[in-house]
């Protein structure tokens, strides 16, 4: 990630490898992209879906069980879809709320973990685009 990243990177903060920099939304706000189930965004698109038992068997820490995958660009989000037609929400998340974010792109460019109330995240959806790709 370039130095113009909107979010702090743990290695730039002098934190040990594997550390996570969970921060509030920057004062300038943050634009994020998330894959949706359908063309109409719903609260359930922003609910953590991994069960405790699924997380346990896969060694997923509770912190990450509760986070949601978003990306910094629409194309980065689209790349993770297996569908022929994919609905992608563009969120404009404002500062001052309860939402927390962490840049977690050590092996996935633009990946951001997000912790927030589903209603708040749904309210942050500015638009939905439907993209097609050849499978």
């Amino acid at each position: 990630m370039a130095d113009d990243s909107p979010l702090p990177q743990p290695d730039h903060l002098g934190l040990p490898a594997g550390s996570l920099a969970v921060v509030p939304v920057p004062e300038s706000g943050l634009t994020l992209f998330r894959l949706l189930e359908g063309e109409t965004p719903r609260e359930k698109d922003f609910e953590p879906r991994l069960s405790r038992n699924q997380a346990r068997i896969r060694n997923v820490p509770e912190l990450f069980r509760m986070s949601l995958s978003h990306w910094l660009t629409e194309d980065q989000a689209l790349a993770h879809s297996q569908r022929r037609r994919t609905a992608i929400a563009e969120l404009r998340v404002l500062p001052g709320g309860l939402t927390l974010v962490a840049l977690t792109e050590e092996f996935d460019e633009g990946h951001v973990d997000v912790w927030g109330h589903p209603r708040d995240l749904l309210d942050a959806v500015a638009r939905v685009v439907v993209r097609s790709k050849r499978l």
Binding site: R34, F64, S69, A79, H80
Partner: protein, 70 residues
């Protein structure tokens, strides 16, 4: 790098060095009764940290369910 993710929203589940390890991770979820067909897939990422492909493994890890359509 191979990322096991939820198929609908691509929420990250686990990260693996090899495809076989990622497939095994989903197989273990199925064998534990903790996965449904179509719930998880795998994203392969290159050294540039970009997605190379996304693929499902349901027919490989849940053949019985595939045969019955359940």
């Amino acid at each position: 790098m191979f990322v096991v993710q939820t198929a609908t929203h691509a929420d990250r589940v686990s990260v693996h060095d090899t495809e076989a390890e990622a497939v095994q991770a989903i197989r273990e979820l199925f064998e534990a009764g903790l996965a449904e067909r179509g719930e998880f897939n795998i994203a392969e990422l290159g050294p540039d940290r970009r997605v190379i492909r996304v693929f499902g493994v349901d027919d490989e890890v849940a053949p019985a369910a595939a045969a019955t359509g359940s």
